[in-house]
Symmetry: C2
Subunit: 214 residues, 2 copies
Amino acid sequence: MASTEPYRVVVLVSGSGTNLQAIIDELHLPDDSGVTCALVVSSHAGVAALDRAAAAGIRTEVVAMVDHPDRAGRDRALAEIVSGATPDLVVLAGFMSILTGAFLDRFPDRVINLHPSLLPAFAGVDAIGQALAWGARITGVTVHFAEEEVDAGPPILQEAVPVPYDRSADALTSRIREAEHRLLPSAIRLFAEGRVSRDPSDRRRVIITEVQSR
Amino acid sequence: MASTEPYRVVVLVSGSGTNLQAIIDELHLPDDSGVTCALVVSSHAGVAALDRAAAAGIRTEVVAMVDHPDRAGRDRALAEIVSGATPDLVVLAGFMSILTGAFLDRFPDRVINLHPSLLPAFAGVDAIGQALAWGARITGVTVHFAEEEVDAGPPILQEAVPVPYDRSADALTSRIREAEHRLLPSAIRLFAEGRVSRDPSDRRRVIITEVQSR
């Protein structure tokens, strides 16, 4: 990277943190990535994701719903903490809580989410179970801009994942996780390289430039 | 094929018939395919699909809505004509008219349709335009069992198609057509080989066996 200041990512988590681990391994730890994980915020205390962050020397915070009167209050507190880390990008990596405008409006076009399907198919909870129940032959993974309408923001990257012929939920979950661990670091890298933008004349159109401009 | 009697396919069309042409080239004309196209029925007179059928020596019929009092009447007439060709499989190949139970109930689990998206995403008309407008990075093609609810029957085969980076509708349409011309003959071949069935305990689950059993 030509830039001397690393690209600052804040990662929001809720659980095991395997996608956080992919970000740590692919981007945070390698010195030449140009990306640093400035902060990890969990919606729950005591989750493994916090241990992964601590083990990589990343600062952690917990912002739990139970400590706030309502979602908007939680989102304002979360925004303050995230903002304090001056992120270039906010990454929802298995963050299992809905964010409102009180949070999202503070970071316009700088919050991305990961969803285990080829959106718009199988939005919402248990996307893998939905795909299996529907009988899909192909599902996948989407990294998209987070917007107030859940799982509806425009996709940045998508990767198709074939459903195993035996429809094994374990095997499909494993394939989806592998794709997630590829796609999310790839998307962050594109942002860090300054290659992602939204077409102002068509906000659903995400432009990825070929040439590095950062 | 071990069987001496060819597998009989009736193809329903409405327009240019490029998917019919793929069936003709891949299955009807090759002597060793074990598949014959017994009849082509168009919902409209004068379309190119009828010329393609005639050029391949396939019998043609036209069953137009305008000649019938209502959809159910049209579907009964259509079912009579199709039934007269004793099909093993009825293939909707760009057939642009909704079929009711008056037709579908006559050929249980023997009517398949082609849709230019990875269903359940982008069901209905102009699936390619829908995918572009939504900002999809990946769309595709689905061959599925036709049911009364349009584009909702369980998939038999699906193929992912990446959206070109320039979002060119022409380039995407061309990629989708190529995938269609691969996928529809492949699906018919699986049926002809006796390898497609539906799980009686879960009707959304289409089973494709590995071993040829026909």
